[in-house]
């Protein structure tokens, strides 16, 4: 029985993507991913029914609930389901004990995570924007783009967190609640280091809103891309030398 073993090339492995998609949506975790955007769009419909077309209310809903809460939570749920849970029960060993580049594994999983962000984050955000302000499609477009970019950055950060610690979900939540949420609302300086603020700057650029002051667009874009790249690199490097057993 001789088999020819080809090296697995290419940045994305279809097998890992398939496994990731099945793991996320074949289980109940997929249901939770539906609930968040449903709540967002539901609220948008309700507010539209109450208020009509109002810029301030629209911003309040799509920014406060959508960009600041739903998008990072979708990213957290997706990434933790793809990486943290496999590390937790050790099944990632089956992916790692293969002659597949760790970068390939990470980027394949991120493809699934980004797909979830697109389907359960960016698209519902665009829908909510259209429901609330059908007269200004740039509003919906701005939030759609910002959700995509911000969500990608969040996915990269959370996947790096997942390979660093067993308590990735809790720490990710603390980061969201305290850094992005509490402190971000209180201290203006946080905007230089906050993914939500960077993606808000993208909305400001596309939809001419004023969600965040005094943050250059180039900085925001570079920061988003930079965090994404660093997150992917950090995750892959950590997976290259990964202690599965031993450090109990």
């Amino acid at each position: 029985m001789s088999v020819v073993s080809r090296p697995v090339r290419g940045p994305v492995s279809r097998t890992v993507v398939r496994l990731g998609a099945r793991s996320l949506f074949g289980r109940w975790r997929g249901v939770l991913l539906f609930v968040l955007p449903l709540v967002l769009v539901g609220l948008a419909v309700l507010v539209r029914a109450l208020v009509g077309e109002d810029q301030d209310s629209a911003e309040a809903v799509v920014y406060n609930l959508g960009l600041a809460v739903v998008v990072p939570l979708v990213a957290l749920l997706a990434t933790s389901g793809l990486l943290a849970s496999e590390i937790d029960d050790g099944s990632i060993a089956y992916l790692l004990a293969k002659p597949v580049s760790r970068y390939t594994i990470v980027s394949s999983k991120l493809v699934v995570a980004l797909g979830s962000v697109l389907a359960f984050g960016a698209v519902p955000m665009g829908m909510a924007g259209l429901v609330l302000l059908p007269g200004s499609p740039s509003f919906a477009l701005g939030f759609f783009l910002a959700s995509l970019l911000g969500g990608a950055a969040y996915c990269a950060v959370f996947s790096w967190l997942s390979v660093l610690t067993r308590h990735a979900v809790v720490i990710g939540l603390i980061y969201l609640l305290i850094w992005e949420g509490l402190l971000g609302g209180l201290l203006d300086g946080i905007r230089w280091l906050s993914i939500t603020r960077w993606s808000s700057e993208v909305v400001d650029w596309v939809a001419s809103t004023e969600l965040v002051d005094d943050l250059p667009l180039t900085y925001a874009l570079i920061a988003l891309v930079g965090v994404f790249v660093l997150g992917v690199r950090g995750t892959a490097r950590r997976l290259q030398g990964f202690n599965l057993t031993g450090d109990e």
Partner: protein, 306 residues
Amino acid sequence: MSSPSEPAEPARAPTGVIHDLGYRPYAGPRLGERAVAWSFFLTGLRNTFGLGRSGRSKVLPMGLFGVMLLPALILVGVLVQAKDLLGLDAQIVPYSTYPLTTQLLISVFVAAQAPVLISRDLRFRTITLYLARPMRRTVYVLVRLASLAAGTFVLIASPLLLMYAGGLLADLPVGRETTRFFGAVVGAALLAVLLAGLAALVSALTVRRGMAVAAVIVVLLVSYTVVASIQGISVATGNETVGEVAGIFSPYTLVNGVQHYLFDSPRATPAPPSSDAMGLLYVAAVVVMAGGSVVALIARYRRVSP
């Protein structure tokens, strides 16, 4: 093990004896299910604050407890010292509003400790040991829920007690403060029961600790944000009723509304119940939610195989 050798003369009876120092079964009185449930409740309550467990598990609950007390301490300090200076004649933050202001801490506490009480037994299957004891399954569930609710109640009510003591120290009218404090304590109890029920239900369904914590926080956070947004918008546009109904969907606003209706506490939400019908709806919602989570929890545990 051989017995000590007997003396050579057959006339002398053997005087050796073997002392049974081995296993002894327990033959004393056994307390009934009630005592078992009570001690189980106490253990659960202690575990909620990390007592009786490792040092690391004390950090979060004790830390949160301290941080909950801190603002109350500051408020009391200001009240006592600067009462005449600032012309204060009541608590700076009303008793009933305090839990709403510190809701993040309360949410984190209940989200972190519910899995400790509920998910651990289910995930690592130690529940089979509990079910093999005189305590019945429903009693186990109710006692666990009670421990969690009691622990949460301690967390919510302690700063209120501190504020009450500070109020008495600052010579605020005793009768008025006591009635207000009493109303706030009732509210704290209701809030504790609602939060504990919700968190316990989520923890029993999720079983994995990290996900349970995340899910509870998400539910509490998102529900409050949505409700607050709806209430804000509904008040601004004049549809208060919508806002009042929305207030049912977050435990914090629900309990605050009930306190406003029953005890005439100052409101902390934009749209508290303004009519008797709405107030009764709020009270009914509390009962339904509390009862519903208990029923759902018992149903969930019925599916657990020993």
